[in-house]
């Protein structure tokens, strides 16, 4: 088959015959590093291009900017800790855990301070959740802009958190009856602060100190971050320093100047917390072109801030016709799911799309459907259907369709 030949070529292009059968590869004859030589392991040097990347023209400084998860280089639903996208407003805050304190005060019976050891002694839970920045895909409102799902959709990651239910922590201090909102604040040099409705705090929020088993990474808020399942990443306060209980919201800079969604009429939505259901095809995509003719697996991620993803459809013709993809692996509340659709590709142009549905009945809209309601100035919450054009030579491009 054409696919067979093409696949072979790609593999052999740079291969060293001395390592290929019938020859015995060099590494089969000699010893490598022993155990304990790498107490904390790293990826193979051959995977050096699988890294977070930033877009330097986006912001004035890298200390208040974003780097993106290389979604095109991953599969399954778990993001390895070293590749979780970064978004900082004062750079990576480095905290000595002995000096870490969490203050809980305001409309409580007894204000409390917790050390990290205190938090680790409390009952804890383990949950896999996605975290998506509300600005994910924000550069794409006016049309196809960045060539690569790392850039268009890479402000998301999905890990298993371990931490204390926020409800349990609040119960230690005791809430006053007029408590309605929390002021949650980071210890970074932006003092990142947001207003969190109490009903969400009492529902499924966590005071997390671990990701994928080990302690949080510095970029993700070491030693403690807030987990707000399904809600925009900005409110998942990293380096969490203080929780103040109050009776109304604070209207902080991050929930007024930023993270409000400006509509065409000049009015803006505020407190748009939930991340709408969304999906993206991660392979093929601009950074991972089609590698050979013949059998082709189309793969991607889907998620919803409102609950579980129930279905993902895939289109090959820009949204005229759809087929239902196969979801494989765990399907959990407010977590990513992995989907696959299979086809045969013989060099024809494809316009690849995916659309996610969740258990509230929500269906991911087209970008134009979104624009009809929201205009193009909203920056945040762009969950429109993404289109990738596959060209006859296998290259893939981010395009806009109409």
């Amino acid at each position: 088959a054409a696919g067979l030949a093409a696949a072979g070529v790609v593999g052999r292009a740079r291969a060293n015959d001395a390592n290929l059968p019938p020859n015995v590869a060099s590494w089969s004859k000699t010893l490598g590093d022993g155990v304990g030589v790498r107490p904390y392991g790293k990826p193979s040097p051959f995977e050096k291009d699988v890294v977070r990347r930033d877009v330097q023209w986006l912001t004035a400084s890298r200390e208040s900017s974003v780097s993106f998860t290389p979604l095109h280089d991953l599969d399954g639903i778990i993001t390895p800790n070293g590749l979780c996208f970064e978004r900082h407003h004062g750079g990576i805050t480095e905290i000595d855990p002995h000096d870490y304190r969490l203050m809980l005060h305001g409309l409580v019976d007894k204000p409390l301070i917790f050390t990290l050891e205190d938090l680790k002694r409390l009952p804890r839970v383990n949950r896999i959740y996605f975290l998506e920045c509300a600005a994910n895909s924000g550069m794409e409102w006016r049309g196809a802009q960045l060539n690569g799902c790392q850039y268009t959709h890479g402000m998301i990651h999905c890990v298993m958190y371990t931490g204390v239910p926020l409800k349990l922590l609040l119960e230690q201090a005791g809430l006053k009856t007029n408590a309605k909102w929390l002021h949650v604040e980071g210890g970074d040099s932006s003092g990142m602060n947001r207003s969190l409705p109490l009903h969400k705090a009492l529902d499924d929020c966590m005071i997390a100190y671990r990701q994928n088993g080990e302690m949080l990474r510095p970029e993700q808020g070491y030693p403690v971050r807030l987990v707000v399942p399904g809600w925009e990443g900005n409110i998942w306060i990293k380096w969490l320093r203080r929780i103040k209980v109050g009776d109304e919201p604070w209207y902080t800079r991050e929930e007024t100047s930023k993270y409000t969604d400006l509509l065409e009429n000049g009015k803006a939505r505020k407190f748009t917390f939930e991340m709408d259901a969304k999906s993206v095809i991660t392979s093929p995509s601009p950074q991972v072109p089609v590698k050979g003719k013949g059998f082709l697996v189309i793969s991607g991620l889907a998620w919803s801030g409102r609950g579980k993803v129930t279905r993902v459809d895939v289109s090959l013709d820009g949204g005229r016709n759809w087929r239902t993809a196969k979801i494989d692996g765990p399907v959990l509340d407010k977590s990513c799911v992995r989907f696959y659709a299979e086809t045969e590709w013989n060099g024809q142009e494809l316009l690849l799309q995916s659309r996610a549905m969740d258990d509230t009945g929500y269906v991911q809209p087209t970008k134009d459907d979104l624009r009809k309601i929201r205009g193009v100035n909203s920056i945040y919450h762009n969950n429109g259907i993404q289109t990738w054009a596959v060209k006859p030579n296998g290259e893939v491009e981010n395009v806009e369709v109409g």
Binding site: I113, A144, R241, K267, K270, V290, D369, V401
Partner: protein, 201 residues
Amino acid sequence: QSPKPQNYGIGTQATPEQIAGWDIDVRPDGVGLPPGKGSVKDGEKVYLERCAACHGEFGESAGRWPQLAQGKGTLATHDPVKTVGSYFPYAASFFDYIRRAMPFGDAQSLSNNEIYAVTAFILNLNDIVDDNFVLSKETWSKVKMPNEGGFFDDDRKVAEKAFWNSKPCMKDCRPPVKITGHASVIDVTPDDKSIRKGGVE
């Protein structure tokens, strides 16, 4: 969860002094404002010394740092400029932010008087208070922000009700599709030599 909350006896009571050192948040209604005051004139001095290098002498922004003034009347246009004057609903939204985060890289280095003063100055830059204004707890409620009414609560469940459409079209859902825009034409993607250009030989 258990019906009756359990007390685990973990954590230490926070003293008023401890809380006072960290309790820096300020609300629109003035709750949380520190003692002190500052005039537009004093604010100009602070601003020129500590802020203007990034935000521009008139809040117009230097280079790509955030713009703090102008932009009025742009919100409903194709190029909205969001500033203190054009967009922020409350003075608290930037007073609180300056207090915790500015100057960028030297956070929490301003005195309370300086924060009041520089806030007054930025309000003045945006024609919200006059040249003689002195900002303090007492004058706080005098500040009326132009865009206070510019925000409304998340209404997606109503305004976007059509997206809750559990039976989406599967066949011949639209006329044949045309490509209307190309990311490669815009060409703003960072270069990455690790990406193989031609997939198929």
